[in-house]
């Protein structure tokens, strides 16, 4: 227990509670029902950095970016009513992608609750479906305990977003301040202790397998278990593929890494899916973009599922053995039990598939002959300029898939992308948080012309807070991914996917952000070098081929082995 029982207002208690949890950055936006907290925050400017966003959705995405690169809990502060409802998309995104967040919302005074007061919404009711936990606080004395529980719930077990809704009178009232960090809740088991029987059963399957494959998800990153993973993979000798959110857990050039899973993933892990006799899913949840037709996914394989969340086991794909618990603890136990193996012939077979993919798709994508600049080559040019060691932030759509495929990674926590919810507009605000959460690293955002315009006001946040992010706008004047589907599956009926865009140069410069634009292939590398050399934020518009498609592609609902090159 800390805090000396001195009398504080609820607002001061809230901020002192943040400090107790080690918070150094808050993303927020003031408003009527949160003014008392902002007033208190004024006295903490030396200890707490507040980033004033331009829309509350941006606050949540920025906090997500911060949390994803740093492994810490992202914190947001907004007002009641519209301020609160504007955060809902971000909360849903964070819940899907297991991102630890604490969002504090102001609420009307407790006497006005339920009266349709000005800027009142039932925010606890609204956010039930998009939070890991939420609560309303109506008394100053209850604020520290609510915040302690919020941080504990947000970061423990499978992380997620938490909302604490504080009435205005609770922000203003005075109460003695005590703070006690929470380490357990009776009704909540964040992760169970490893079960020796499950470990033994899994080890037996691994030792018997001839064509095993590990499927690496974000759970490894969330559990800080990258070294444990590598030790396990090296001993088992098995190849590993990654989910979108699991990218960067393994370096892209790791010898037994065989590529990304999923609809636009690599050829080897998809085409060979049904040839595997064992899939070891590690901290991943069999999203339908990964499995395609779940009945066909790994249909000739035994499946081991290492998972922290009991609700994920057998949800989509039946696990022959579920190894419950934190992978940080289960992976070493498993590694201890298995035989040292070498699956060289099998891995060579997989790597050969990726050479087929290179010839069919990648070469054309990275080294096109003629035509306008392609998205893949833009990604590759930027990635090479940063020696494949920058943090990649993406928006959602074609640029996301090209970036995920071609950026490349050297160290963990190097990708920030909206996977589960697929939120357009995520990228720009998330890049702000990513840079603040990893200030020593270069942050490159890839965004399309559609997604950029969904949260484009955050350029002003970047400018005001002087955030050094490099924004690479891949502009094809289309909502490219939808256009691709319309081309392939809807008889080229481009229904409302063409965009007449504003002058992005004027918008960037209007926000005080340096701007460059490139259209010709021979000028691309120079433009990227100029962006890299610039100190501070930079928007590089790359005008790309208008009707380019992302390949390979697994048609929706088809088995992943139906992956096609065109």
């Amino acid at each position: 227990m800390s805090g000396d029982g001195r009398l504080l207002t609820g607002s001061q208690a809230l901020i002192e509670s943040f400090l107790q949890e080690g918070v150094d950055t808050i993303f927020g936006y003031p408003g009527g029902a949160i003014i008392p907290v902002y007033d208190a925050l004024y006295d903490y400017r030396d200890r707490l950095r507040h980033i004033l966003v331009r829309h509350e959705q941006g606050a949540v995405h920025a906090a997500q970016g911060y949390a994803r690169v740093s492994g810490r809990v992202g914190v947001c502060l907004v007002t009641s009513g519209p301020g609160a409802t504007n955060t809902v998309t971000g909360l849903a995104d964070a819940l899907m992608d297991s991102t630890p967040l604490v969002l504090v919302t102001g609420q009307v005074g407790s006497a006005l609750l339920g009266t349709d007061a000005f800027q009142e919404t039932d925010f606890v009711g609204i956010t039930q479906a998009v939070t890991k936990w939420n609560c309303q606080v109506k008394s100053a004395a209850d604020i520290p305990a609510a915040i302690a529980k919020a941080f504990y719930v947000a970061r423990s077990g499978r992380p997620g977003p938490v909302v604490v809704d504080i009435t205005k009178d609770a922000q203003c009232a005075v109460a003695p301040f005590h703070y006690e960090r929470i380490t357990s809740i009776r009704s909540y088991v964040p992760s169970c202790a490893p079960d020796p029987q499950q470990i033994a059963d899994a080890a037996a399957l691994i030792d018997a397998a001839q064509r095993p494959m590990a499927l690496v998800g974000q759970g490894v990153m969330l559990g800080n278990a990258e070294q444990e993973l590598v030790a396990f993979l090296e001993k088992s000798g098995m190849p590993a593929a990654s989910t979108l959110l699991g990218l960067s857990v393994l370096p892209s050039d790791w010898p037994h890494y065989v590529g990304m899973l999923g609809m636009h993933g690599n050829y080897a892990p998809n085409i060979k899916n049904q040839e595997c006799d064992l899939l070891v899913a590690i901290g991943m949840r069999f999203d339908d973009r990964v499995t395609g037709d779940p009945a066909a996914f790994g249909c000739n394989a035994k499946i081991i599922h290492l998972e922290i969340d009991p609700a994920e086991v057998d949800k989509i794909v039946h696990a022959d053995v579920a190894v419950m618990g934190d992978v940080k603890r289960t992976l070493p136990l498993l590694a201890e039990r298995i035989r040292q193996r070498d699956h060289k012939a099998w891995i060579d077979e997989l790597l050969a598939c990726n050479r087929i993919e290179f010839d069919a798709v990648i070469r054309k994508s990275l080294h096109p002959v003629g035509g306008r600049i392609r998205m893949g080559e833009a990604v590759d040019t930027v990635a090479r300029a940063y020696d494949r060691d920058a943090v990649l932030v993406t928006d959602v759509g074609q640029q996301q898939m090209f970036a995920a495929r071609y950026f490349g990674f050297r160290r963990t926590r190097s990708i920030v992308t909206s996977g589960g919810l697929g939120t357009m507009g995520f990228g720009l605000p998330a890049s702000i948080g990513a840079k603040l959460g990893a200030p020593d690293r270069d942050v490159c955002l890839f965004v399309g012309d559609g997604g950029l315009q969904m949260t484009i006001q955050e350029l002003a946040t970047i400018s005001q807070s002087d955030v050094d992010v490099k924004i690479i706008l891949l502009n094809n004047s289309y909502l490219g991914m939808v256009r691709q589907w319309q081309e392939l599956f809807y008889d080229r009926r481009y229904s409302f996917t063409e965009m007449a865009n504003p002058d992005f140069g004027l918008i960037a410069r209007g926000n005080g952000i340096a701007y460059g634009c490139v259209e010709r292939r021979e000028e691309l590398a120079g433009a990227v070098a100029e962006m890299k050399a610039h100190r501070g934020a930079y928007l590089l518009e790359v005008r790309v081929e208008r009707e380019e498609n992302v390949f390979p592609m697994v048609p929706a609902g088809a088995p992943v082995s139906a992956i096609r090159f065109e």
Binding site: Q128, A129, K132, S184, R186, S187, A311, V313, K315
Partner: protein, 185 residues
């Protein structure tokens, strides 16, 4: 595999902290998976401060297990258990407001129905039993004019000799002790 599974009745008992809004959190687990709740009752449990929900659903064996895991995922839920009807003792209470007549009074005697109120025009009856029993009486009374009918949700007691909630609570206490000891070391 799942397509072959048969839908049947399950009783899910949920034990939770007594928190505002938890009922809504639990029912949304069903609505977002398009599972209809046949009946739902809530009350205090035998353990002080712990609330009990008894939920009856018709679904398949694998779906009901997934529902229970999703319910348990709610932070304030302690545990959710799934039972088949034969594993529990269950009862419902039904009330009937019926127009008075000689035939109704005969039925009252024959079916051992409790009379709660008698007026010049109507009679209020109570029948406790399972759904088929209370439903059967409703069908018999219907020809004589049932003006109001209401049936409570199912309440259920688990037959097992093991007290699963108490086991869970003891296990939690043990683990918390272990954790505290680890921290002090």
């Amino acid at each position: 595999m799942e397509a072959m599974e048969k839908e049947q009745e399950y009783i899910i008992t949920v034990f939770s902290e007594n928190k505002v809004g938890l009922l809504n959190q639990i029912t949304t687990v069903f609505t977002c998976r398009n599972v209809n709740i046949e009946s739902l009752t809530t009350s205090e449990s035998a353990v002080l401060g712990i609330h009990k929900f008894t939920i009856v659903v018709r679904t398949t064996a694998s779906k009901v297990e997934r529902l229970a895991r999703q319910i348990e995922k709610k932070i304030d839920v302690l545990k959710a258990f799934v039972f088949r009807p034969e594993e529990v003792v269950q009862q419902e209470i039904a009330l009937y407001k019926v127009t008075r007549s000689h035939n109704v009074e005969l039925l009252v005697r024959r079916y051992n129905v409790r009379v709660l109120e008698i007026d010049d025009d109507y009679i209020v009856l109570e029948k406790t039993g399972d759904k088929s029993e209370t439903g059967e009486l409703f069908d018999l009374l219907r020809p004589y004019g049932v003006q109001q009918f209401v049936r409570s949700g199912t309440v259920a007691i688990i037959k097992s000799r093991r007290e699963l909630l108490n086991e869970y609570l003891r296990e939690r206490e043990r683990l918390e002790e272990l954790e505290k000891r680890e921290q002090t070391i």
